[in-house]
């Protein structure tokens, strides 16, 4: 779920770090213990494995731009993703991963195939069972400190994936739920540092879901508020590549430049 929210944020390109400082150096739980507790607090492994897809709608508020976008996110096991952000007077920004091809349609810049770090980020975001695969996804996991994040006591966990990319995640000392994360995020404009707070957790069909995500980057703030979340109601046809992307893929296969 958190990766899905993260994916929606990636449709815009911004960020800022609001780092939480370490306050103590006491005995800390292992990252595995923290993750296990988080999975349990989220509804448990059985509930997570018991769902095959999720569809969420909501709004993305971007006060610095004076804009609020309607957002739809569809994601299915094992790694399908479609995000649609409908910006007033602009049109729909779409991005997706069908298990092979990562793509984006932006009314301002045109359609494009994603590659490199941007594709890697999207694939990680599309991983439906990522919350159950921390050990596989992050060869290095370390509980750095018991600190404070978003005004709450939190365990700060450092994660490094197989590409060497580092992410910091914060888990509530009290509830075990994830309070947020920070790290670099790649867009077509480059890499920016994003700090994200997760809040307003609600129970939905046996899962505990953060309904609000507030991201800060480059001195600006974006807030995504989910209005509906449903599980196991996504038709896999939504992940079919749009005509524009099919044309780009065909061009790439025939030897033209890929994007």
């Amino acid at each position: 779920m958190n990766r899905t929210l993260r994916a929606a944020t990636a449709l815009t390109s911004l960020l800022v770090l609001a780092g939480a400082s370490s306050v103590t150096a006491q005995e800390l739980p292992s990252p595995q213990q923290i993750i296990e507790r988080y999975v349990e607090a989220s509804g448990g492994e059985k509930a997570i494995r018991g769902t095959q897809s999720m569809y969420a709608t909501g709004r993305m508020e971007m006060p610095a731009m004076g804009m609020t976008a309607q957002v739809q996110v569809s994601t299915s096991a094992p790694d399908r993703l479609l995000m649609v952000m409908d910006l007033p007077n602009v049109g729909a920004l779409r991005s997706g991963f069908d298990g092979t091809v990562g793509w984006m349609e932006n009314p301002m810049t045109g359609p494009m195939l994603l590659e490199g770090d941007q594709l890697g980020d999207l694939m990680r975001q599309a991983d439906f069972y990522a919350d159950l695969r921390y050990a596989e996804l992050y060869p290095t996991m370390e509980t750095v400190a018991k600190s404070e994040f978003a005004g709450q006591p939190a365990y700060k966990v450092r994660l490094v994936d197989s590409d060497g990319k580092e992410t910091i995640e914060y888990f509530s000392v009290d509830s075990g739920l994830k309070l947020g994360f920070e790290g670099e995020q790649t867009s077509e404009m480059g890499t920016v540092y994003v700090t994200t707070e997760l809040s307003d957790y609600k129970e939905v069909e046996g899962r505990t879901v953060p309904m609000t995500q507030t991201s800060k980057m480059m001195g600006m703030e974006m807030k995504m508020v989910l209005e509906t979340v449903v599980f196991d109601q996504v038709d896999s046809s939504v992940y079919a590549l749009p005509e524009t992307i099919k044309t780009l893929v065909a061009g790439a296969k025939s030897g033209a430049s890929g994007s």
Partner: protein
């Protein structure tokens, strides 16, 4: 991210010409003044890309101006104080835009006694109001003419076909003297003190645009000097241009967007029948994306393209990578945005497909770009990038030198603060802000040329496109000849 025409940043300078009121504000007014002032200060404090503020003691600026802000008796006065605050940074793309047409506490225009407004004691209030409340390209109707500054005069440089001005018999090269009784020479004189030539030109341009714009059907009195030097007084009604539409984007006020495409066909040697597309748009707003794509599909086999960015103040910088991609076969950088802690690149997105899925090839033919002193912001970023990559040849006059990525945010009193978030470095190195884009071929507008009906910068660009086309044809022929020759080898 968006950017906007440089006149917004000049409002502080213009506003400083207005006189302040001595009336003490109410307690509620004073509280709102401080909240608004502090918010504006904080936004810049947190987000200005240079943590050293270019050597300006930003805390001291706050301490100095905060009491003045508190004493302001109107939003207009408060805008003036905040405008002076952000002007200390010495950058474009900082300014305060009125959130509403008038807050009711401002004095009227100064009358010189002969019934004509003057700016002897400061810029007339009605012009300040026009500047603050009208939109850059005027989400409003107009007389169907554009002006240029040449040889110290304001000249009619473009006429809309069948527009009000053309129907009234106004010709290219005529000198515009007064608009609704306001002498343009007075405007220039009053603004002139302490302003550099580029700043003055930008503000003049904004003022004249504001004076010419208005609601459809409203009357406009123009006094001009015609081709023979005779004074002419012409009354006409403003109309919405037929090629325009109103665009909305976030906090920006509604903007009138105009896009036009002309196809020129060369008659006679050395390039008889060569088709040259001339594309012009007046602001970088969302509708341009599809209009430009449609034009590029139609121009795939054109012998050359001229992109006219004269008078284009910029707009949404995020459109530049998409437009550049119609002319670039690689994801080349259009420049780097340097924020306080981050760095982003604008990269061209090579356009290999239309929005409907039709296959497309980035255009490889000659591209000329026209610029002038009112070409600013995203237009400058685009022109600089295409110039640095050798993808276009730039014609015209040096640009406005005002190119910073900025946002517009609402302040507690309803006004809007425009503030730049990042510095911009062109792909070949160096800033556009403060330096502008120097054309590869300097071609100023002249009155003589306009009176002859010749758009000299456009003519120069077309001449170059023809030569480039001929040169490329010759090169292609030589390659074919070498390949066809016995034992020929292509290197």
């Amino acid at each position: 991210m968006c950017s906007r025409r440089p006149w917004v940043a000049l409002l502080a300078l213009a506003a400083s010409l207005a006189s302040a009121s001595d009336d003490a504000p109410s307690a509620e007014r004073a509280r709102l003044n401080l909240e608004t002032f502090d918010t504006a200060w904080r936004l810049v404090d947190e987000r200005f890309w240079d943590p050293e503020f270019g050597g300006v003691d930003w805390d001291a600026v706050r301490e100095e101006l905060r009491p003045e802000a508190e004493r302001s008796s109107s939003d207009r006065e408060l805008r003036e104080v905040i405008g002076r605050m952000v002007a200390r940074l010495g950058q474009s793309h900082f300014g305060v835009i009125a959130g509403s047409p008038d807050d009711g506490n401002d004095s009227g225009s100064v009358d010189a006694g002969d019934g004509q407004p003057t700016c002897a004691d400061g810029l007339p209030e009605h012009l300040l109001a026009a500047l603050e409340t009208s939109t850059p390209t005027g989400a409003s109707a107009g007389p169907g003419l554009d002006v240029a500054w040449a040889e110290g005069t304001t000249l009619v440089a473009r006429l809309d076909p069948e527009g009000p001005a053309m129907r009234a018999g106004i010709g290219l090269g005529w000198e515009l003297l007064r608009v609704d009784g306001q002498p343009l020479a007075d405007v220039a004189r009053c603004l002139g003190a302490g302003l550099g030539p580029r700043t003055l030109a930008s503000l003049q341009h904004a003022l004249v645009a504001a004076m010419l714009g208005g609601l459809p059907g409203t009357a406009l009195e123009l006094e001009l000097r015609d081709a023979r030097g005779e004074p002419r007084s012409i009354r006409l009604e403003r109309e919405d241009p037929s090629d325009s539409q109103i665009a909305h984007f976030g906090n920006l006020p509604p903007l009138r967007v105009r896009f036009s495409q002309r196809n020129l066909v060369v008659q006679g040697p050395p390039a008889d029948g060569l088709r040259i597309g001339v594309l012009r748009f007046d602001v970088w707003m969302i509708p341009i994306a599809n209009l430009f794509e449609d034009a590029m599909v139609e121009l795939q086999d054109a012998g050359g393209i001229v992109l006219d960015l004269r008078g284009n103040p910029g707009g949404i910088a995020g459109l530049a990578p998409g437009i550049a991609g119609f002319f670039m076969d690689e994801k080349l950088s259009l420049g780097t945005l340097r924020y306080r802690n981050d760095e982003l690149r604008l990269n061209a997105n090579p356009r290999r497909v239309t929005r409907t899925g039709q296959r497309l090839t980035p255009y490889e033919g000659p591209l000329a770009i026209l610029v002038d002193q009112f070409t600013a912001s995203t237009s400058e970023i685009f022109a600089a990038a295409m110039q640095d990559h050798g993808r276009a040849r730039v014609f015209g006059e040096p640009t406005a030198a005002a190119a910073l990525p900025a946002v517009i945010e609402r302040l507690p009193n309803g006004d809007l603060l425009m503030h730049a978030l990042a510095d911009f470095e062109r792909p070949g190195g160096g800033r556009v802000e403060g330096a502008g884009v120097t054309p590869d071929q300097l071609v100023p507008v002249t009155r003589d040329g306009l009176l002859r009906g010749v758009d000299e910068p456009l003519q120069a660009a077309v001449d170059w496109v023809i030569l480039e086309s001929v040169r490329k044809d010759a090169e292609a022929a030589a390659v074919e000849e070498a390949a066809a020759a016995p034992g020929g080898e292509i290197r």
